[in-house]
């Protein structure tokens, strides 16, 4: 049964803030990059914007694994998610939604001629043996991240 936990992270999965993406190559050498969108799909899946065929893309197709750090723009809480690649979609409602959002992001950064969505990479969110997803982060005063369901909060940064 799918836990409802990913739904409470939707604020961090709307493409407001750029996310960090970690992958490894076939030899285990890590790669750290930024990604424009980590998009909520359902309670077990997210979609990452596939914009270029580069080192990150090569690693994803080779190992089928990724790790993302997303930020909730309201609480500024960070969430770290382990991901397993499922498939790439290059048409349909999800693709069109992400394509429209990417156009807005590109315009905001003056990168209209650089950013172009080639596909929506679907990933399953990996849970630990207890069915939990690790959460880390900073919390703005008066803004408590929604730690409901089976979320495991493994760290936080207190603000002055």
């Amino acid at each position: 049964m799918m836990a409802p936990e990913l739904r409470v992270l939707r604020g961090a999965l709307e493409g407001i803030s750029a996310s960090l993406l970690g992958t490894c190559d076939a030899d285990g050498l890590p790669n750290a990059s930024m990604i424009s969108q980590v998009h909520w799909v359902d309670d077990a899946h997210v979609a990452l914007s596939y914009q270029f065929f580069n080192k990150t893309r090569t690693n994803l197709l080779t190992t089928k694994q990724a790790c993302v750090l997303v930020t909730d723009p309201g609480s500024l809480a960070f969430y770290r998610l382990d991901l397993d690649y499922v498939e790439t979609r290059n048409s349909g409602p999800l693709f069109e939604t992400m394509k429209a959002k990417l156009a807005g992001i590109a315009s905001h950064h003056g990168l209209e001629k650089v950013f172009r969505l080639l596909g929506a990479d679907i990933f399953r969110v990996v849970r630990d043996r207890g069915g939990r997803t690790a959460v880390v982060g900073a919390v703005l005063p008066g803004h408590i991240p929604p730690l409901g369901g089976t979320l495991l909060r493994s760290g936080s940064r207190a603000l002055p």
Partner: protein, 140 residues
């Protein structure tokens, strides 16, 4: 600053740094929040290689350094003030992008008592600016 590693289980791990210092133009030290990067610290303790990407908020222009080993360390004299200085610069850049001051400062903030560091000697350098060339190696 984005920090990449590989866990003992073989999975990629991503973390975030708040500042960077360079010693003798040979050793890079990235400062970060310990509590926000526990899986990353565990990976380095298990001997993971490191990837560190430094990005400009305004246009995401980035460069990536990699090394086969990295060591977790405590803070050194001057680390706290340097982290505060670089965090303030990032906060100013985020405000230029539309963040409110409280959002920008919270995003860039790291409590002094929570500050840790990872040190490494870069072995390879890559462009990482978003685009088709991201990940291309820069040779001497």
């Amino acid at each position: 600053v984005s920090l990449g590693a590989r866990s003992a289980a073989g999975r990629p791990v991503i973390g975030i740094g708040v500042a960077c210092r360079v010693r003798d133009m040979s050793e890079v030290r990235v400062l970060f929040s310990r509590s926000a990067n526990l899986p990353l610290m565990e990976a380095f303790a298990n001997g993971s290689a490191v990837a560190a990407t430094f990005s400009r908020a305004r246009d995401h222009r980035s460069i990536q350094l990699k090394a086969s080993r990295a060591s977790i360390g405590d803070t050194e004299p001057g680390d706290h003030s340097e982290a505060a200085r670089q965090s303030a610069i990032l906060a100013d850049e985020l405000m230029e992008l539309g963040y409110t001051r409280i959002q920008a400062e919270a995003y860039a903030f790291c409590h002094a008592a929570d500050l840790g560091s990872v040190a490494f000697r870069p072995e390879r350098v890559f462009t990482q600016t978003p685009g088709p060339g991201a990940g291309a190696e820069l040779h001497k």
